[in-house]
Symmetry: C2
Subunit: 503 residues, 2 copies
C-alpha cells in the first residue's frame, strides 16, 4: 500500500467556491480524482484534520465528505489505519468469459445501435414545418381556440387540483371518455359506450397501439399507397409485412388486396379522406373491406383524422358504425383543436379496449390529467361543437380563396384533386417534376409544402404537393400561391416544359 | 330489377324529429335501411317529389340527401331511370382465394388478438392505487406544487398562446431541455449538453424508447431481480431475452451477469435506489458494470427515478457522469412534482439522442407544448429547486414518523430495509406470509400497499410490502400502521405464527 499523502494534489480542489456548498464540491472533486486515477485504489488519504487545514475549511465538513464517499464505496475507513481509496474499486471485474475478442473501444466513442440510422431518418422526415403557408397543422389566425381555451382552462384549474396527484387510469379520464363517446356517436355514427374509449396522445399513438395490440411480428397487413408516413413508420418499426394497395378514384383498391394477400390480419385505412390524396372510400369498397374482415377475422383500423371538417354534404358516416366488432376507430383533437394538445382517442370493441389500456400502460401510462379535465369541460359545455362550426366556416372560406387563386394561376399540367374535406388540398404535378426538390426550394423561399412522392411505395411515384390552408389569412394564401407558381414554373421549365399531368 | 317503390317503408323514417336536422336524419335512416337489407342492391327509390310529399318535408332536402348518398356510393342515379340502391354495394367482393375455410364468425363476435390476454393482465397489474396510505405516488397534503403551479401556469399561458399551434420538435421544447441539462449537471453530476436531452412523458416512456432504440428482438439484456414491473413489461413486450440478476446488499449482482450472459446488449438498473428494495449500487459494482459495458460495447440504462429525494448525505452521483458514452440516463418529474404531469427526460450521447427523437416521433410525436412551457418557467425561475428543498424536509419528517411507528408495532419476523432515499420504504415479511393476499386484504381495509413478490423472477420470491409515506400526514400514517399491523398479525398467525424473516 502506498503511504499516506500529507497533501492531496488535485487541481480542482483549488477551485473551491466558498460562497457555495463546500462539502459537495470537495466530494465531487474527490470522486473525479478517483475516476481519473489521480487517486488510486488503496491509496491513503490525509487525515481529515490536515486536509481541512490545507484547504482552510471546517474539519466537520471533511469528516462528512469522507463518510459520504465511504457510504458510496469510493473510500474505505479501517480502524487505526485511516481512510483510503477503496481497494475493490477497479479490480473486482473478472474478464467476461464469452466477451467478443475485440479491443475495448475508447471510452469516449459512441456506438450507434443498429436501428439508429432508420430512427434518425424518421426524426428528420417527421420534422414539423415552420408556421408559414402552406403548413398543414397550424391552427393560427383565428383558428386556434386560444382565448376560450385559456379562460376555461384557468376556471377548471381553479376549481380543482392544478397538479392532480397520483397516476390515473390508462384508459383516460371518465368525463372525457363520456364526452368523446357522445361526440362520435352524434357526429360520426360510431356505435360505442364510454368503456370502449381509450384516450390517446393523438393519432400517431393510436396507430402505434393498434399495431402493438392487433399484430405480431411478420403478420401481413394492408396499407394504402400512398399513405401517411407516420403510419408506414409504425408498421416498419413493428416489423410487420406491409402490402401496399394502390389508391384510385374510389380510395384503397380492396380487390388488389384480395389478390395479393387475403390473409392479412389488418387493414389500415383513411376512409373519410384518403391521406394524402383526399377522396373518400366508396361504399362498394367499404362493404368489400368489411366482408373481407368478417371472413378472415381481420381488423380494420379506421383513421378518421379530419372528418369533422367537411365542406359539402354531410360527413361520411364511420366504417365503425357499419361493423363495430371489426373496426378500431381512431380520432384526434389535433386537427379541430390544436396539435400540440396531444390528445386523441381509440374506440375498440369492449374486451379489446382493455388490451389497448395495457399497451398504453406499457408505452407511457396515461395522458396528462389536468388537460383531460379542461378538454372534458370544453366538450361538455358546448365550446367544442361551437368551435367546429366556427372553424368549418373559416376553413371553407380560406379553402375557396386558395382554390380560386390556384385556378387562376396554375400552369398547364397541374391539377387540383377534387375533395370536400380537411385542412389541405392536393396539387398534382406533371410527372416529370421532382416534388421533393420543389418542396425543398419552396422551404428556402419561405413556403412549407409536403411532397407526396415519398409517401408512395410504388415506383415511379406520382409527384404532388399537399397545401394546407387552415392557418393563413386570404392575403397570405394569395401571395403564397403567386410565389409557389413562380417556383413551380421554374422547376417545370427546367424539367422540359409543361406536359399533361396524369389523370 | 325490382320495381320502384312508391313508398319506402322504413320504421325509423317515421321517427324523424322535425326540430333537428331533417336531412341528416333521412340520410342516416336510408343508410341504416340499406345496411340492414331493408333496401336491397339495385332496388329503385321513389322519386324525390313523392318521398318529400310522403314524409312532409321539403323536396330540396330529399334531393340533397340523394346527392349525398350517391356521392357516398350508397345510391346511384341513372339518366331517365331514377335513383336506385347501388348495384355494386354487396356483391363486388370476390371470395378471397386463400381465405381460411372457417365459417365467417357472427358479425357481432369480437375476436381477441393473440397478445390481448397479456396486455389485459398488464392493464390490471399497473392499475394505480387509490389515494389512501400507503400509496406511493400521491403527492398530496402539502406535497403537490398546487398553488405555485397554477399561478405560474396562468401567468405563462397569459403571456403566450394558450393553444400553441403546430407540431413541435420530438426532442421537446428547447427552453425545457436547457433547464433539465442545467438541473442534472448540478444535482446529478450528469455530463450533458441540451442537444442530448429528450423530453419524455415519464420514465415509462423513457424505458420503452430505450428498448426500441438500443435493442433488437431476441437481444439478451440484464435486468434486476426484483425489478420495476413497468420495466419487465416493456422488455417482455419487445421480445428481448431477459436475464434477471439477483440483488444483494450492494445492489444488482453484476458478477452473476458476467457468468450468465456477458454478451448482453444492455443492462437496465436503478443504481441510486434499487427498485423496489432501496439500496444503492456499490461503487465496485458500478465500476464492474462500466468495465463490462466498455468491453462489450453494451449500454447501461440508468433509471434515476427519485434521486432528488435523499435524506442522509448527498445524493449518489449518476453513473452517466462516470461514462457518458455508454449510459442512457432517465429522469422524471413524476416523483418530485406530480405523476399526472407526465413529463420526464432521457439523456443520451449525441448521435443516439437523435435516434430517440425518431422513436418518439413514431410513438406519439412529442409531449404537449403548453405544459413544457410552464415547467421550463418553473425550473428557470427557481421554483423547482425550492420545491425539492421543501418536500425533502416534509418527506423526511413523514418518513421518520412511519419508521418509528413501525418500530414500535412490528411483529417479530418483520424488518424494515435500510435506505436513505425515495418516497417509500420496504417492509420485509416472514417468508411464509403471502404478500399478495395481504395487499389485497389491506386494499379492502382502505390501505394501499404493493406486494413485491410478483416483482421477482426467482422462486420462491421474498415477500415484502412497499409503503409510500409522501402523501400522508403523520396522524394518517400512524393510524395506518396500526391497521396494517393488525392485518399482518392476523395473516401471520393464520400462516403458523411469527418466524424469523430472511436476512
Amino acid at each position: 500500500m502506498s503511504k499516506r499523502r500529507s497533501i492531496i494534489e488535485i487541481p480542482s480542489l483549488n477551485a473551491i467556491d466558498r460562497t457555495a456548498n463546500v462539502g459537495r464540491q470537495l466530494a465531487q472533486a474527490l470522486r473525479n480524482a478517483i475516476a481519473r486515477g489521480e487517486l488510486r485504489s488503496g491509496e491513503r488519504l490525509p487525515s481529515t484534520r490536515s486536509l481541512a487545514a490545507s484547504l482552510k475549511i471546517a474539519r466537520g465538513t471533511v469528516v462528512e465528505v469522507f463518510d459520504q464517499l465511504t457510504a458510496e464505496g469510493y473510500l474505505e475507513a479501517r480502524v487505526g489505519a485511516g481512510t483510503r481509496v477503496a481497494t475493490d474499486l477497479m479490480d473486482t471485474t473478472p474478464a467476461p468469459p464469452l466477451a467478443p475478442a475485440v479491443p475495448p473501444p475508447s471510452a469516449d466513442a459512441v456506438d450507434l445501435p443498429s436501428q439508429a440510422a432508420r430512427l434518425i431518418a424518421i426524426a428528420r422526415a417527421l420534422t414539423p414545418h415552420p408556421p408559414v403557408p402552406f403548413a398543414i397543422a397550424v391552427p393560427a389566425c383565428g383558428i386556434a381556440p386560444d382565448d376560450n381555451w385559456r379562460r376555461l382552462g384557468n376556471r377548471v384549474r381553479a376549481s380543482r387540483q392544478a397538479a392532480p396527484s397520483g397516476y390515473h387510469d390508462p384508459m383516460g379520464l371518465l368525463e372525457l371518455r363520456l364526452a368523446i363517446a357522445d361526440h362520435v356517436r352524434r357526429a360520426r355514427a360510431v356505435h360505442c359506450e364510454p368503456e370502449q374509449v381509450i384516450v390517446t396522445s393523438g393519432t400517431q399513438q393510436g396507430l402505434y397501439m393498434a399495431g402493438r395490440v392487433l399484430l405480431s411480428r411478420d403478420d401481413p397487413v394492408w396499407a394504402e399507397d400512398p399513405a401517411y408516413p407516420g403510419l408506414t413508420a409504425v408498421l416498419d418499426d413493428l416489423g410487420v409485412q406491409m402490402h401496399r394497395l394502390p389508391v384510385d378514384a374510389q380510395g384503397m383498391n380492396v380487390e388488389r388486396g384480395l389478390e395479393l394477400c387475403p390473409q392479412a390480419r389488418a387493414a389500415f385505412v383513411t376512409p373519410s379522406h384518403q391521406y394524402p390524396i383526399g377522396m373518400p372510400l366508396s361504399m362498394a369498397r367499404r362493404n368489400a373491406l368489411i366482408t373481407w374482415a368478417d371472413q378472415n377475422r381481420a381488423w380494420i383500423v379506421e383513421d378518421d383524422y379530419d372528418s369533422e371538417l367537411r365542406y359539402a354534404g354531410h360527413p361520411f358516416p364511420s366504417m365503425q358504425g357499419l361493423r363495430p366488432s371489426r373496426v378500431i376507430y381512431l380520432g384526434t383533437f389535433s386537427k379541430v383543436l390544436f396539435p400540440s394538445l396531444r390528445l386523441g382517442y381509440v374506440i375498440a370493441p369492449s374486451p379489446v379496449a382493455e388490451a389497448f389500456a395495457g399497451a398504453r400502460a406499457i408505452l407511457d401510462r396515461h395522458s396528462p390529467t389536468a388537460e383531460q379535465h379542461v378538454l372534458a369541460a370544453y366538450m361538455r359545455e358546448g365550446y367544442f361543437e361551437a368551435h367546429i362550426r366556427r372553424i368549418r366556416g373559416l376553413y371553407a372560406e380560406r379553402r375557396a380563396v386558395l382554390l380560386s387563386a390556384l385556378e387562376r394561376a396554375l400552369p398547364v399540367g397541374c391539377r387540383v384533386q377534387q375533395s370536400d374535406q380537411g385542412m389541405h388540398i392536393l396539387l398534382w404535378l406533371p410527372k416529370e417534376v421532382d416534388d421533393v426538390q420543389l418542396a425543398a426550394r419552396a422551404l428556402s423561399a419561405g413556403l412549407a409544402v409536403r411532397a407526396i412522392s415519398p409517401m408512395y411505395a410504388a415506383r415511379p411515384a406520382r409527384p404532388g404537393l399537399m397545401l394546407g390552408f387552415g392557418g393563413f389569412l386570404p392575403d397570405q394564401l394569395q401571395a403564397a400561391v403567386g410565389e409557389l407558381v413562380k417556383l413551380l414554373s421554374q422547376q417545370m421549365s427546367a424539367a422540359g416544359g409543361p406536359q399533361q399531368a396524369e389523370a
